[in-house]
């Protein structure tokens, strides 16, 4: 604190008396002007996320969640997903999470089977924080799907995947990064109900031919 004490006394001594009086009278009437310089200096005050994407091996959506207004329309969102997908398609992101930078965003991603996991942040963001969230999401999905991580199982358990997304990030702010905690929060509540979509599909799959299955689901 030594430094700040000195700072303060310098601030006051530098203000001449006449203007100090005016300073007081003015500031009591009007709100002090927001110090613009301060605001523009700060980068993101806390890590913030643009979106989380879970796409399949053709770039189609399995589950996505957007937190920022950077892509106001559905078309803009799809265009972004397409560009992310094509730009990362050829990379090998199966053992270690990969990273790419384009259009002023940083995207970390990891693939498994026919699923592509993406987490997007602004280009000032700490890459390691982004990848921690990606890893949390990736591992949590693995736990939820009991290591059967592929598109079909993911779609059959879409409710859990969506809950999982909901537990990781809230409005762009990290809520939880620990995979076991995330998975615990999504599954423990629904275990008793066994409400996942898969059970129903099984019973009906046994009863009807596959073509009819989809229609019977909708009745």
């Amino acid at each position: 604190m030594r430094g700040f004490g000195r700072e303060l006394s310098r601030v006051w001594s530098a203000v001449p008396k006449a203007s100090f009086v005016r300073y007081l009278t003015m500031r009591t009437v009007v709100d002090p002007p927001v110090s613009l310089s301060l605001v523009s200096f700060t980068e993101e005050p806390y890590p913030s996320f643009k979106n989380i994407l879970l796409l399949d091996s053709e770039g189609k959506r399995v589950a996505v969640k957007y937190y920022a207004d950077d892509w106001p329309t559905q078309a803009a969102k799809l265009a972004f997903e397409k560009s992310v997908f094509t730009k990362t398609q050829k990379t090998n992101a199966r053992t270690e999470a990969e990273i790419a930078m384009f259009d002023g965003y940083i995207v970390v991603y990891k693939f498994i089977q026919d699923l592509h996991f993406f987490v997007t942040g602004g280009d000032n963001e700490n890459e390691l924080i982004l990848s921690t969230v990606l890893q949390g999401f990736f591992d949590a999905v693995g736990l939820i799907l009991r290591n059967n991580v592929d598109k079909r199982t993911a779609l059959e358990n879409l409710d859990l995947i969506l809950l999982c997304l909901d537990e990781i990030i809230d409005g762009g702010i990290i809520l939880e990064t620990e995979a076991s905690v995330i998975a615990g929060k999504t599954t423990s509540d629904s275990l008793d109900g066994m409400s996942s979509l898969s059970e129903q599909t099984i019973s009906q799959a046994l009863a009807t031919a596959r073509e009819h299955l989809a229609r019977s689901l909708l009745k």
């Binding site: 604190m1 030594r2 430094g3 700040f4 000195r6 303060l8 530098a14 006449a18 003015m26 009007v30 927001v34 110090s35 310089s37 301060l38 523009s40 700060t42 993101e44 005050p45 806390y46 090998n92 270690e96 999470a97 990273i99 790419a100 930078m101 384009f102 259009d103 700490n126 890459e127 390691l128 924080i129 990848s131 059967n148 079909r152 199982t153 779609l155 879409l158 409710d159 969506l162 809950l163 909901d166 809230d170 409005g171 702010i173 990290i174 809520l175 939880e176 990064t177 509540d189 629904s190 109900g193 409400s195 898969s198 059970e199 099984i202 799959a205 046994l206 596959r210 229609r215 909708l218």
Partner: protein
């Protein structure tokens, strides 16, 4: 557990199978009627919600009516006790985001859940309620939210804190009342609660600098647990450092020890955050940089791409301002050129291009050529910009670099990419005379096959200005006339103008140019014909004009010497009349000067951080500004402009900083003033400078600022005469004088009457370093030897007790204001001795080289041997005098002793 297995057997053949195959919005909305059943089937309801969410997720939208219907139906599900279903209900409400009048339906259910015994209900109900609520409702639930912040279940506490962060945007006055609870939550043992509480508390207090610095100081003492919270603390710490450095101009940064300690944290994310914070200090010293760069260097060879990327990106940024500090990483960097990850490879290359030395250029270019073919345009542009800067740095290498540029110019590429290449070639031609002929020829070849009209016209314009001045102008004519035959009207018109320029300057080509221009008289386009006619007549093809007079030349080549904005404004106000529009009446002064806003980094920095030494440097801009002021035109060539020095504390009503412009026999202080009070208009702003402590200076003129409205910076100048060519020093005290007029905030109009007022500014010093240009030499040893020992002066100095060798080295470099060469400003840790090489150009354009040898003994006594070579004996002596007389050195001794 058994189910997934059964499923697998069942559908193995069909890969396209999806549980949502053939799903339709209408049908699902029908299905949603089950929500209204008196006997709720929780499982089925969950499935229907999942389908609805699936549809929304795929981009399907519900109409207003549909959304309302679904929302009301979903609210019925609060009757069910099934926890899984309840989770889906929460999710669904958030997705639908009901309108304000609908929210009321679920409020009571959610408020009940907020007080439930089940933690999961409490946490989720808070998040949902805070998402959909408005200000009036918030006051009702505020009490519960405060409780939730200190809830012993971390999930509930986090939910309330995160909601608080969101609500702060819309209802700051309410959230600010929670400070006590948030402060309690910061002490939580749960890692994420602490993280969220810290983020919220900082947001609440962000405008109160003192509170933020208190918060940071207390937390850096070591009660923060999670890596995420550490990262926040690092961000806030560097903000505090930045704020305090605006006020105190020298000395140790507070809290930098904490950041350095973070470099040894076990979590990578904390290390990266800390390293980045350190490298972004304004005016960071080598001693501060070294530990950060060392950890980043280790990351360069990590097996994790994310870590490699983070490291190379940070080093890339450092290389822009401190290329020498990064040279130690060059070997690791070179191995990254072949990295699988193209982003990493591009960053590595551009870093190498910034840090590389002359001998490595050729090798580097070979490596890049292979790499260019398989990267995207946006990466290529980054590389092109980096190559341009490299070529300006090593003009001798222009041949291989220009060759590289012309090779890639022939390859496929989009407009932005080609434009970047063309811009680079143009800049290189302008700055490196030897490269001119080859460069122009490359441009000629390019327009032979160019699909972009804009680029063709740009090149033609440039050819017209530069081509006639070459040794054999006639060889360009063919390329230009081809454009008249082959291209669209816009390009044809540009080509006609270019031909005319050749004709007007090169007398021998004139008859042939006339022939070509006469052919253009039959062009199908009006503009092309008009231009041809105009040029034929002004150049006098019929022999009516013997010598081309000066007016014609000016007309053809003269740049418009008025700012386009001003011209536009004048043309708009010109009313059609007998009186012709007078170009000379257009004001030439540029109204607002963006110069003062240099310090704030722009919102979106270029993604790969291409260095800013493009076409206009700040010096260029200053030169332009000063030369536009007639009073200063007699001062001659501008020698050096200092960085802005703040003369006021941050956040005072008038912000003033000063730039010192050094001329041979004069010095000009440029005061950049900003009025931060909306209710005031300042007029006749002048700075009264008292130079009684600067005997060698005499004020010659001062240029007041007529008006200074709120928040639009303006400049006032004061000029002094000083002994010609000598490094006179002195101290100046400054007083800002002006007339204040009150401004009515409603109308924005100022009152007639003003009051005279004054405002004390801080003192300003002109020191010896102001007369030294930082100019680096490429090979210090060669330069040293070729300078010869004729005017060498050697002496030894005791610098007293120093904190470290590095600190002493930095202090001496700053006093001399010279450019450290070959990375010798970096002192290895625990070194007992060090040699530092400096170069610079002293006022009067005298080259100066300095070799400093430092040694430190047990009780931290530092001794220094200073060897100076220059082109002038007197200057060599002057350098010694600077060091011998410098108060900062002796001051520094006292300071260190006092601080223990």
């Amino acid at each position: 557990m058994a189910q997934p297995l059964v499923k697998k057997d069942d559908d193995q053949e069909d890969e396209e199978y999806s549980p949502f195959l053939g799903i339709e919005k209408g049908a699902v909305l029908q299905e949603a009627r089950v929500f209204n059943d008196p006997q709720l089937d929780a499982r089925r309801c969950s499935q229907v919600i999942t389908k609805l969410l699936y549809l929304l997720n795929q981009g399907e939208t519900f109409t207003k009516v549909e959304a309302t219907e679904v929302f009301f139906a979903v609210t019925k599900l609060f009757q069910s006790k099934d926890t899984g279903l309840r989770r889906m209900v929460y999710l669904m409400i958030k997705e639908i985001s009901p309108s304000a009048d609908e929210v009321i339906i679920v409020t009571s259910s959610l408020m009940k859940d907020m007080n439930s015994k089940t933690d999961m209900y409490r946490a989720n109900a808070i998040r949902v309620l805070c998402r959909i609520t408005d200000g009036t409702l918030l006051t009702q639930i505020e009490r519960y939210l405060k409780q939730a912040i200190v809830d012993k279940n971390p999930v509930v506490a986090s939910a309330a804190l995160v909601s608080g962060i969101h609500l702060l945007q819309t209802n700051p006055e309410i959230v600010k009342r929670w400070t006590n609870e948030v402060q309690e939550a910061i002490q939580s043992r749960a890692a994420l609660v602490q993280f969220h509480a810290l983020a919220l508390l900082h947001q609440i207090r962000q405008s109160d600098r003192l509170a933020v610095s208190k918060l940071v100081t207390s937390l850096t003492k070591g009660s923060v647990r999670s890596p995420l919270a550490q990262c926040l603390l690092i961000r806030y710490t560097s903000q505090v450092i930045r704020d305090s450095s605006m006020n105190s101009q020298t000395g140790e940064r507070p809290l930098s020890d904490y950041l350095e300690a973070c470099l040894r944290h076990k979590a990578d994310m904390v290390i990266v955050e800390a390293a980045r914070a350190i490298t972004e200090f304004s005016g960071v010293t080598s001693r501060e940089l070294t530990p950060a760069i060392t950890v980043l260097q280790l990351f360069l060879s990590s097996s994790k791409p994310v870590l490699r990327f983070a490291a190379v990106r940070t080093l890339n940024k450092v290389a822009m301002t401190h290329p020498l500090a990064v040279t130690n990483c060059n070997i690791d960097m070179e191995s990254l050129i072949s990295d699988q990850n193209r982003s990493i490879a591009t960053l590595a290359i551009t870093t190498l291009l910034k840090t590389g030395n002359e001998s490595s250029v050729d090798r580097l270019m070979k490596q890049i050529s292979n790499f260019m073919s398989d990267i995207a345009d946006e990466f290529k542009i980054v590389v092109v910009d980096a190559i341009r800067s490299l070529c300006l740095k090593f003009p001798l290498k222009h041949r291989s670099l220009m060759n590289f540029l012309s090779n890639i110019l022939r390859e496929e590429g989009g407009f932005e990419y080609k434009k970047a290449i063309i811009d680079s070639i143009v800049i290189l031609i302008r700055d490196i005379p030897e490269a001119k002929e080859t460069g122009l020829f490359q441009l000629c070849e390019f327009i032979e096959d160019c699909e972009f009209t804009y680029l063709s016209t740009q090149v033609l314009h440039f050819l017209g200005n530069e081509g006639p001045k070459t040794s054999d102008p006639s060889k360009y004519i063919r390329y230009i006339y081809n454009r008249v035959i082959l291209e669209n009207a816009t390009v044809r018109a540009a080509a006609v103008s270019t031909l005319a320029k050749f004709g007007s300057i090169v007398e021998s080509l004139k008859p042939r140019i006339f022939v070509l221009l006469r052919r253009c008289l039959f062009d199908s386009d009006d503009e092309v014909r008009d231009r041809a006619t105009l040029y034929l007549n002004t150049l006098g093809w019929d022999g009516s004009v013997g010598e081309i007079d000066k007016g014609v030349k000016e007309f053809l080549f003269g740049a418009l010497d008025v700012p386009l904005v001003n011209l536009e404004a004048s043309l708009r106000s010109y009313e059609p009349s007998e009186e012709p529009f007078d170009l000379s009446a257009v004001p030439k002064e540029v109204k607002s000067q963006p110069l003062t806003e240099k310090k704030a980094p722009s919102k979106k920095p270029p993604s790969f951080g291409v260095s800013a030494n493009g076409p206009t440097s700040p010096i260029d801009a200053y030169e332009k500004l000063l030369s536009s002021i007639p009073e200063f035109s007699s001062f001659g060539q501008l020698f050096k402009s200092s960085a802005p020095v703040e003369l006021t504390e941050a956040e005072t009503e008038y912000a003033v900083n000063v730039v010192k412009h050094i001329f041979s026999g004069h010095i000009v202080f440029q005061y950049n003033c900003t009025n931060t009070i909306p209710e005031q208009l300042l007029e006749n702003v002048v700075v009264i400078v008292d130079a009684s402590d600067a005997e060698e200076f005499a004020e010659v003129t001062s240029k007041p600022l007529k008006t200074l409205p709120y928040d639009s910076p303006g400049q006032t100048f004061v000029a002094f005469k000083k002994p010609d060519g000598l490094p006179s020093t002195g101290r100046f005290s400054n007083l800002l004088k002006f007339i204040v007029k009150e401004v009515d905030p409603a109308t924005g109009e100022a009152e007639e009457e003003g009051v005279e007022d004054e405002y004390q500014l801080e003192d300003l010093e002109v020191v010896a370093a102001d007369y030294m240009l930082r100019v680096s030499v490429l090979n210090f040893k060669n330069a040293w030897e070729s300078m010869g020992p004729d005017y060498e002066r050697i002496d030894e100095y005791g610098l007293g007790v120093r904190e470290s060798l590095a600190e002493a080295v930095t202090a001496v470099i700053n006093i001399l204001g010279m450019q450290p060469c070959e990375g010798t400003d970096v002192v290895p840790n625990n070194a007992r001795s060090h040699t530092c090489l400096l170069s610079g150009v002293f006022i009067g354009n005298v080259k100066v080289l300095v070799r400093l040898s430092f040694g430190i003994d047990g009780p931290k006594q530092v001794a220094m041997k200073l060897a100076v070579r220059s082109e002038d004996e007197a200057i060599s002596d002057a350098i010694h005098e600077i060091v011998a007389n410098d108060e900062a050195i002796s001051d520094a001794i006292h300071e260190i002793v006092a601080n223990g």
